[in-house]
């Protein structure tokens, strides 16, 4: 039984090491890699009616408007990115020309480029001459103010509420429900002689306070969330079990003391008696080992493990041994004792090279020797605290797995807090995928960074 746990735990933490090395990009972060429009698409416009300036950010109607099929329409070079709360862009009307028939909006791929956005299906357009909103039929509806030369008009998509919104000179116009799915291109159009419009895809600051609007929309959702009620002291309990899980013994002691003295006193629910016991298992020893590993005293850590839990380091090719030996080697490199490091590597790494899962990781360790300033190299991550942390957490999990009462190795690897955060992330992702993959996902990093706005 213990071996089964150990294998699972071992491969989990090796996986963490691989992630830490930066060779794997976490899937959640490719939200930030979604590309946004940067300029106008000059390939699919109908060049006969308009002229796009060389910077690809300004457009001028060169023809004479004769009918409804000679509109000068330009789309952005990419569709609006969807994996976020909002998307927004603006235009500045330099010249309203003869009739001021400018439009801003969104169109689908394959839009008829000689028609105003909103005059064809799957397109939305806010027109400057009449202030109407057109959304796929020839006839528009009263929507907002007209706009002309000197005005800055914006168009945006709110993925949370599935709505379009527009702005004129910083004030919101709209919103209007978006019933078009699929990628949408920011679109602008000019239709009478000499009309000239400049577009801003975000390279310059927007006239409209997008950040404030975003915060406002987030706050709306937050308000609904805040209404949920939590069982009393549940956060307290989960934080406490996190501290126990990872062996932060001193922290727990003072946490408990303060809890007893707080008003009203926070008492521990005894219903979770059995999980309490599992959490407190070998608390002092786990704390001791964490301390040793975090301060780089790997030999001492080996010694203690030999005394207390020989079964964990019994198999000399186990993940635990691998992690500890590598860390010892890393500490020698850190201390500048390169000859000792080489000797150590020669003694220990040999048997690990045979096993596939260790191969790349061993190579990374060996690579440390190639640099005068290894901390600045691509393998510099090995010298950071995070690497020690992985080793400490592995040993912690292994010790927890020696508890005869443990049924599920998952309990040794993940604290409840972590499990809850995973569930939260997965639910948000699932919700987003049901929404046509549009909208924000949950990123713990962003939440942590976002705060402190008071």
């Amino acid at each position: 039984m213990v071996n089964n746990h150990q294998d699972l735990i071992g491969s989990y933490f090796l996986g963490l090491w691989k992630q830490n090395s930066g060779t794997q990009t976490p899937p959640a972060e490719d939200d930030e890699e979604e590309e946004a429009p940067t300029e106008l698409n000059t390939i699919n416009t109908y060049g006969g009616f308009l002229n796009v300036f060389p910077d690809k950010l300004s457009v001028q109607y060169t023809s004479v408007n004769l009918h409804g099929h000679d509109v000068g329409v330009v789309q952005a070079n990419r569709p609006a990115p969807v994996k976020r709360l909002l998307y927004y862009f603006e235009i500045y009307v330099k010249n309203a020309g003869a009739k001021g028939q400018i439009a801003i909006g969104f169109t689908a791929e394959g839009f008829k480029m000689r028609r105003q956005p909103g005059w064809e299906a799957n397109s939305y357009g806010y027109h400057g001459d009449d202030g109407y909103l057109y959304r796929g039929q020839g006839k528009g509806e009263t929507f907002g103010p007209t706009y002309t030369a000197g005005d800055t008009v914006g168009a945006g998509i709110n993925y949370a509420s599935q709505e379009f919104f527009f702005t004129k000179n910083g004030t919101i116009v709209g919103p209007v429900y978006k019933d078009v799915k699929g990628p949408l291109f920011p679109t602008i159009a000019v239709h009478s002689q000499n009309e000239e419009v400049r577009v801003n895809f975000g390279k310059e600051p927007f006239f409209f306070d997008l950040k404030a609007f975003e915060a406002q929309e987030r706050a709306k959702q937050q308000m609904m969330i805040e209404k949920m009620s939590l069982p009393q002291n549940v956060s307290h309990g989960i934080v406490r079990s996190y501290l126990l899980h990872y062996g932060y013994e001193d922290t727990v002691k003072f946490f408990d003391m303060a809890s007893k003295n707080s008003l009203p006193p926070i008492s521990l629910a005894q219903e979770n008696g059995c999980s309490e016991q599992y959490n407190m298992y070998a608390l002092n020893r786990r704390k001791a080992l964490r301390e040793l590993i975090r301060s780089g005293q790997i030999d001492e850590a080996f010694g203690k493990l030999c005394d207390w839990y020989p079964q964990i380091i019994q198999d000399d090719t186990s993940a635990t041994c691998f992690l500890l030996h590598c860390q010892k080697y890393i500490e020698l490199v850190r201390a500048g004792m390169l000859e000792d490091a080489v000797a150590y590597g020669r003694a220990e790494f040999g048997r690990f090279c045979v096993l596939e899962e260790y191969n790349n990781l061993v190579k990374d360790c060996a690579a440390l020797l190639a640099y005068e300033q290894p901390q600045k190299s691509r393998v510099g991550y090995l010298l950071q605290e995070s690497q020690r942390e992985i080793v400490a957490d592995t040993v912690n999990a292994m010790i927890l797995s020696t508890n005869p009462n443990v049924k599920d190795s998952q309990d040794c690897m993940h604290s409840y807090l972590e499990k809850l955060l995973r569930q939260l992330t997965a639910c948000y992702l699932e919700r987003r995928s049901l929404n046509g993959d549009q909208g924000e996902a949950f990123h713990l990093r962003s939440v942590l960074d976002r705060g402190n706005t008071g």
């Binding site: 501290l243 990872y246 001193d250 704390k287 992985i390 809850l420 939260l424 919700r431």
Partner: protein
């Protein structure tokens, strides 16, 4: 079977469970009329079952296996969960625990630990009813806090009045109410209402049973203490609430949202984070 069907069956004098339907329709001592009725009922039941099946398939089901895979794809960094815990300790005011956590985990708090001690001293003073002391401490910390927070200041003064009344210092209480609180009441209607409620305590012999008796509860002190705590945090450009409880609420909310469209393994018990297998 539905209520109507069971009524029908019992009306016919037939006791039927799911298994016995086939037996009786196999035919034993039934005459033509009963047989015909039975066949109609049979079709009603078939139709019902088909409807139930249709409803079940229109909601997407995610099995435990599939969900476990999605969970395993989520990467949570240890340093981030450490930061979350530190944020909790710091915002809730666990000074010593935060200090130890910093040593044991190497996580830096997002606020100066020294300021926590000061803040906790203020909170404790209010919780113990030493409001004058608390006000002095707040002003030592940052005189702008009370200047820019008239409601907080009023509530502190109100608490002071409550404590005077609690200690039976009637004359002092009246003087205090008239000199310090009445002018505030004139400026603001809601302050006036609060003032009247508080002064009303003096009118009753048995304060614990009077309509405004709750003002003497410890919960009133805790409320005021909480308000002060939040104001100090805000003045230090720190969020007044810890992040972690909000995340728990987000989890509950997200699960509720998802329930409408999908059957999937839920976490019902936050304290144990155990997954329940999906209903289907």
């Amino acid at each position: 079977m539905t209520f109507l069907e069971s009524k029908f069956f019992s009306g016919l004098g037939l006791r039927l469970g799911a298994s016995s339907i086939s037996r009786t329709s196999g035919g034993s001592d039934l005459d033509g009329l009963e047989g015909g009725v039975l066949m109609s009922l049979f079709w009603i039941v078939i139709r019902q079952l088909a409807e139930i099946e249709a409803m079940a398939t229109s909601k997407k089901v995610i099995t435990r296996e599939e969900w476990d895979k999605k969970l395993n794809d989520v990467k949570i960094r240890k340093e981030d969960t450490n930061k979350l815990v530190m944020n909790f300790l710091v915002t809730e005011g666990y000074v010593d625990a935060a200090e130890k956590f910093r040593m044991e985990s190497g996580t830096e708090p997002d606020i100066d630990i020294a300021t926590i001690t000061d803040r906790m001293a203020v909170k404790k003073a209010v919780q113990s009813g030493n409001v004058e002391d608390a006000i002095e401490k707040v002003n030592d910390l940052n005189p702008e806090i009370l200047d820019t927070n008239p409601q907080l200041f009023f509530h502190l003064q109100q608490q002071r009045l409550i404590e005077l009344i609690r200690n039976g210092k009637v004359e002092e209480a009246l003087e205090f109410a008239q000199e310090k609180l009445a002018p505030r009441g004139e400026e603001n209607q809601s302050f006036l209402v609060e003032l009247e409620r508080t002064v009303a305590l003096l009118a009753f012999e048995d304060v614990s049973n009077c309509p405004v008796g709750e003002l003497l509860n410890i919960s009133q002190r805790l409320k005021t203490a909480s308000e002060v705590n939040a104001a100090i945090l805000t003045s230090q450009s720190h969020e007044k609430d810890p992040k972690f409880p909000s995340l728990l609420k987000m989890l509950m909310w997200a699960q509720n949202q998802l329930d409408e469209k999908v059957a999937y393994p839920r976490i019902d018990n936050l304290s144990t984070a155990t997954l329940e297998d999906p209903a289907a």
